[in-house]
């Protein structure tokens, strides 16, 4: 249902906007990496190697002399209640096995980022989709029927807006717990394509057979963010219902449902999709914040890995830094695409939505 004119203005927007190309490239790369994670990840995201923990990324190798506890049988030794220590040269080696280093359990950060992209994007897309579904339904209904329906629906939206989204999300997670967690099988692994590919290249095999879909988070971010869609959809419906072609359809005898689906929704879709792009970014940020605060049930998530890295902030900065960079780059990409769509299609929704 994309009008050729829309495509033309999109192309035009792209040709004069170098940043939009960067944004599309970022989104494409992140999508590719997330979808084909079992092929591109250098290592299994969960594979630990406690002896290789906290390896720095390439380019950050160093050796320092440190006072470290002496260990026997893996445990520290006490002498007169004091820990026995010795001065030792500590090597922080990096290796191409772990180009972005390893985390506290010796897991490959790059592989975790790649699998983390899956969670972020799944939540981003499904959460946005759900929010869109709810918000657009409510918004179109309110805007089309106006009057009391509008009053009731929009006043409820006001109430939702009275909660900062992260606050409401936290409260809702407190209520829902992780009741809605889903495990999605990874088709590439299940069908054996990815393992065959990996063993052919000599990469470690045994990639996870499924991805955890944090259903609670998806529902919660949708419950928190539908309002933005409702506002935009309502605004569109309010103005579209006054368009002459809608009146003409009514004069031809079309009923409300048919007008909504044939005329109002298709013409409201552009701003909704533009908002959707921006909302994916916002929801990815929200998801990462919730994971960071420990409210997500996903095992691998950028926000969660940042939180894991915090305790190493004085010794292994990269554990926190890398997932954050992944978020920033992905969100920048999505925002650039959103800007491009908005500039090209001019739906006039500046300043809607947000984290």
């Amino acid at each position: 249902m994309i009008a050729p004119r829309t495509i033309r203005s999109l192309k035009r927007g792209l040709s004069r906007n170098a940043l939009a190309k960067v944004g599309i490239a970022i989104v494409v790369v992140v999508l590719f990496v997330a979808i084909f994670a079992p092929f591109v990840a250098p290592d299994r995201p969960g594979t630990q190697n406690l002896n290789e923990s906290r390896q720095p990324p390439i380019g950050f190798e160093k050796a320092t002399t440190q006072e470290v506890p002496v260990k026997e049988n893996g445990s520290v030794v006490f002498e007169d209640g004091q820990i026995v220590t010795e001065n030792r040269t500590v090597y922080e080696n990096s290796s191409w096995d772990h180009p972005l280093g390893t985390d506290g359990n010796g897991r490959d950060i790059l592989s975790r980022l790649i699998y983390g992209a899956r969670v972020s994007l799944l939540v981003g897309f499904f959460g946005t989709g759900l929010a869109m579904l709810v918000g657009v339904t409510v918004g179109l209904t309110a805007g089309y029927y106006r009057g009391k329906v509008d009053d009731v629906l929009m006043r409820s939206a006001d109430v939702m807006l009275a909660f900062p989204s992260i606050v409401l999300a936290i409260a809702l997670i407190g209520v829902l717990q992780d009741a809605l967690e889903q495990s999605i099988p990874d088709p590439f692994v299940q069908t054996g394509v990815a393992p065959a590919f990996r063993s052919a290249l000599g990469l470690p095999t045994g990639m996870p057979e499924s991805t955890t879909l944090p259903g609670t988070i998806i529902v919660v971010v949708a419950l928190v963010n539908w309002v933005w869609f409702a506002r935009v959809a309502r605004g569109e419906a309010l103005s579209l219902r006054e368009e002459s072609y809608v009146k003409a359809a009514r004069a031809l005898g079309a009923n409300d449902a048919s007008i909504m689906f044939r005329h109002v929704l298709p013409n409201a879709i552009t701003p909704i999709l533009v908002l959707g792009t921006i909302q994916i970014a916002a929801i990815i940020l929200l998801e990462s914040a919730l994971s960071f605060l420990g409210f997500s049930s996903a095992n691998i998530s950028w926000g969660f890995d940042i939180a894991l890295g915090r305790q190493y902030q004085s010794t292994a900065w990269w554990i926190s830094a890398m997932p954050g960079l992944a978020i920033v780059i992905t969100v920048i990409g999505l925002n650039l695409v959103g800007d491009w769509l908005r500039d090209a299609l001019d739906p006039g929704i500046e300043g809607e939505g947000g984290v």
């Binding site: 594979t47 440190q66 006490f78 894991l308 305790q311 010794t315 292994a316």
Partner: protein, 545 residues
């Protein structure tokens, strides 16, 4: 205290019938928040004689030094009512102001405190305490028997006070009365063999009139005890400031001003220590130990605690109903590497439910070895190959709990025929499930830590592994009967039964045996202090370095 300077050297194998019922929060490790843990101290090391400040023998006439100390825990006290909490951080604050009738030393031995003498009343189901004379509350009033009796009643009798969360800590105590100014008589509901052990752990004494003049919430905001420090100011969730109580019945403390603050984030605490903003911090994470030790600001002091970290596997659900599978889980993990790398050496590997310092530990039973091939074989043998399992773990309650859980799941996931993942849980909801008393409510596989301040292995096993245990995940007739035997016997026989039970537990592997947790403190170089064994940071025992 000088009257009963006890031997604090060595680790007392305390074998009495002390059965301090585990507290919910204290034992599962509640109340510490953040990544911190709530690590009781265990003095397996030789404590020094002046641990309690009793060794300083200060002259009363001596000018008292100006020596302010700040202690930073993971959490602030939930309130200041000594009878209305179940958390270690709150207890640590309380013990400086309120005292019990009797107390424990670092090794767990019962010592006199406000009572100088205690005994059972012959022929009656009662016990009697003789109060120390000349003890004054911080408001200047003298301690009398009525105060102590009221305090006991306030805990055990809902009518007198409120539904104190500590009432079960004085289980078997039905009430108290004060026959005279210096005597307190406690009535029991039977021949309670552990009554003094109970009183040595809980039962802070408050002034009756002071309590009765105040509302519940006022009591939660201010303090009036007999301890070596008196409250100066309290800002909820921010800080508690105390000053030395110069009329303390014992020598006044060397510490002149004592401030409690909190920082949930371990690195925050370390930074505060290094920047000289605080003097004692709890739970230094292993990766920060070097940073502390390499600095001039302070050093790390550590002690094994009485807490054991384990993974329970519910015996009534597949695949954990299979002994082979449970054993396989133990073989699958490289516990030594976990202790060494994840915990930075701050932990001891375990292979049985009883810690080495505890009564009933079987010295012949060691940890499982790391043998992934054997594990794979056993999984195949169990018939559960290909199973997917999920480890439920709290986050930030125990030292590196999540990292341990991830490491465990990571190792098991390495097995070609098992896949494992970690499910982070909100501590509150996890504990809810564990505490329903109904095994079906528990998750099939979870990580939890259990602290037992009594050094009594039997209590650990009864609570966690016996068929009727409050938090059990296992049921084994042979094991139950061994515990039964131990409960009805004493001495060598009892110990033998317990050791046998431990061996059986090792063989049957109801848990994945993990580590004994260590308490790791950061201590400023201006403070001289030894970690104690009983979760307590006792500022009275601190001196200027």
């Amino acid at each position: 205290m000088p009257e009963n300077g006890t031997n604090r050297r060595g680790f007392l194998k305390y074998a009495g019938g002390a059965a301090v019922t585990a507290s919910l929060a204290g034992c599962l490790g509640g109340g510490d928040g953040g990544d911190g843990t709530d690590t009781p101290e265990g003095t397996d090391t030789d404590g020094t004689d002046d641990g309690g400040g009793d060794g300083t023998d200060t002259d009363d006439d001596m000018e008292l030094p100006d020596f302010p100390v700040t202690i930073t825990q993971g959490n602030m006290p939930s309130g200041l009512d000594p009878h209305d909490h179940r958390e270690t951080p709150t207890d640590v604050v309380m013990l400086h102001v309120y005292e019990g009738l009797i107390t424990r030393d670092a090794a767990g031995a019962v010592q006199p405190a406000l009572a100088t003498d205690w005994s059972r009343v012959e022929g009656e189901e009662a016990a009697q305490f003789q109060l120390r004379e000349g003890v004054t509350f911080h408001n200047g009033d003298t301690l009398v028997g009525e105060d102590a009796a009221h305090s006991i009643n306030r805990i055990v009798d809902e009518e007198v006070g409120f539904a104190s969360p500590q009432s079960d800590q004085l289980a078997g105590v039905t009430g108290a009365s004060a026959p005279d100014e210096t005597t307190v008589q406690v009535t029991l509901d039977g021949l309670n063999p552990i009554v003094f052990s109970e009183f040595a752990t809980y039962c802070d004494i408050m002034q009756r009139s002071w309590v009765e003049d105040r509302s519940k919430s006022e009591i939660g905001q201010t303090m009036n005890g007999t301890g070596p420090f008196k409250l100066d100011s309290y800002t909820q969730d921010e800080q508690v400031v105390m000053t030395r109580y110069e009329d303390y019945w014992d020598d006044p403390a060397e510490v002149s001003e004592l401030t409690f603050t909190s920082a949930a984030e371990s690195s925050t605490r370390v930074n505060q220590l290094l920047q000289g903003e605080t003097d004692i911090i709890v739970n230094v994470p292993p990766q920060e130990v070097n940073r502390v030790n390499n600095s001039d600001a302070g050093s790390v002091a550590a002690a094994p605690s009485t807490r054991i970290i384990y993974n329970a596997m519910r015996y009534d659900v597949e695949p954990f109903s299979s002994k082979q599978f449970r054993q396989a889980m133990n073989y699958a993990i490289d516990l030594e590497s976990i202790v060494s790398n994840v915990l930075g050496g701050f932990g001891t590997q375990t292979g049985q439910p009883t810690l080495p310092e505890f009564v009933g530990h079987n010295d012949d039973v060691g940890p499982y070895s790391y043998d992934p091939d054997e594990a794979e074989r056993l999984v195949d043998e169990s018939g559960h190959a290909g199973v997917e399992i999920e480890l439920n773990t709290p986050v930030g309650r125990y030292l590196k709990d999540l990292e341990i859980a991830q490491a465990v799941a990571g190792y098991i996931d390495e097995l070609p025929n098992v896949s494992a993942s970690v499910n982070q849980r909100d501590f509150g909801s996890l504990v809810d499930e564990l505490l329903t008393g109904n095994i079906e409510d528990k998750p099939p596989w979870y990580l939890i830590g259990w602290g037992e301040a009594t050094f009594e292995g039997a209590l650990v096993m009864t609570a966690l592994l016996s068929t009727d245990g409050a938090l059990t995940s296992w049921s084994n007739d042979e094991f139950d009967s061994l515990l039964e035997t131990a409960a009805n016997s004493t001495g060598e026989e009892r110990i033998a039964a317990l050791e046998e039970a431990n061996a059986l537990a090792n063989e049957e592997a109801p848990w994945i045996f993990l580590n004994q947790q260590y308490s790791v403190y950061g201590v400023s170089s201006r403070v001289s202090w030894e970690p104690r064994s009983d979760e307590r940071i006792d500022a009275y025992a601190m001196s200027q370095a």
